[in-house]
Symmetry: C2
Subunit: 175 residues, 2 copies
DNA sequence: GTGTTTCTAGTACGAGCGTACCAGAAGATG
DNA sequence: CATCTTCTGGTACGCTCGTACTAGAAACAC
């Protein structure tokens, strides 16, 4: 291996980004601090400031990661094709995980547009998502279908109701 | 007036709640601190702890205020009936104000379900909203229509695009 | 080996936070 | 008048935060 330092450093950096992304899903963007990320990644506090100029940069990297993972999850779900289209739609748009993860996902989503780098990442992810959803063969344009799922999810989150269940009910009422 | 102290105290308390609600819309729930609320309401720091046992209680009061205001705004918009139904739908569901207000509204919405008192307030507000939207005479159930607007708004927020514009586009594509 | 770059660990500073406490002003009651 | 309750203002404690700084370990080049 030439230059093991570089490789080690990139691994460390990736660990920090992954830890930050996990924290976003678990505790929302506000739960991401230098110290929390370091502890989660098993690194020292200084590592976070060595690899990222400030917290915004770390959050942006984590957000780009989350946006990419979200689009990849959607693609894998739709391509598995192991359920009716409406069910695939719901599973593709909603992130996997418990209620806290879903809440973290949407909290991050709502705040993402205020950070240009994240806005771009999510625009790209959403374009990917729309393309995938269009392949489901449902009657509406993909933006409409995705909005339906997102909107139903927000409603469920605001009332503290089970998200997937409520989303399925709204989708079935619409199709 | 009998007992001017009591009346003065209730006014003070209402001022604090209003200040907290304004801060939620301007800076999101994370922007609400005892000190920020006190400064905004023109009160001293101690007033916030005198009227509210802790920050959660203050946030809950502000949230209940926001939920009620949101439902009232929707009702007034629909009852004005001074635009086509689709446009009334968009105006009723989206909060008035600039992009920051809309972002604050949805950030608060997503987090509300985690606090039982807020979940109840928003459930009541949403029931009100659904009833009002049902009166628009559009082809879909109100939950579906509201979800469409909320989902489109979240998409726009995540990409940093103008919200109302994007929501109108999605709604017109769906109807 | 020496020297250089990359990375880690530890510590420190100043700021803002939630919250608690207390002295006193303001108004009501007798 | 005096007394009691309600409310206000000011201050303080302990904590976490972002960020900066420095010393040294680790991996490479020569």
């Amino acid at each position: 291996m030439t230059d093991g330092r570089r490789a080690r450093g990139e691994q460390r950096r990736a660990d920090l980004v992954a830890a930050a992304a996990a924290l976003v899903l678990e505790a929302g963007p506000a739960g991401v601090s230098h110290r929390a990320v370091a502890a989660r990644a098993g690194a020292s506090l200084s590592a976070t400031t060595y690899y990222f100029a400030d917290l915004d940069e770390l959050l942006a990297a984590a957000g780009a990661d989350l946006a990419a993972a979200w689009a990849a999850h959607a693609r894998a779900t739709v391509e598995s094709a192991d359920a009716p289209p409406a069910e695939l739609l719901v599973r593709a748009v909603l992130p996997a995980g418990d209620a806290q993860h879903v809440r973290g996902h949407y909290a991050h989503l709502v705040g993402a547009g205020a950070v240009p780098a994240l806005a771009r990442a999510y625009a790209a992810g959403r374009a990917d998502l729309d393309a995938v959803v269009a392949g489901l063969g449902l009657a509406w344009p993909p933006e409409v279908l995705v909005a339906l799922v997102d909107g139903a999810a927000v409603a469920a989150l605001s009332e503290g109701r089970p998200v997937a269940e409520h989303v399925r009910a709204v989708v079935s009422r619409a199709l």
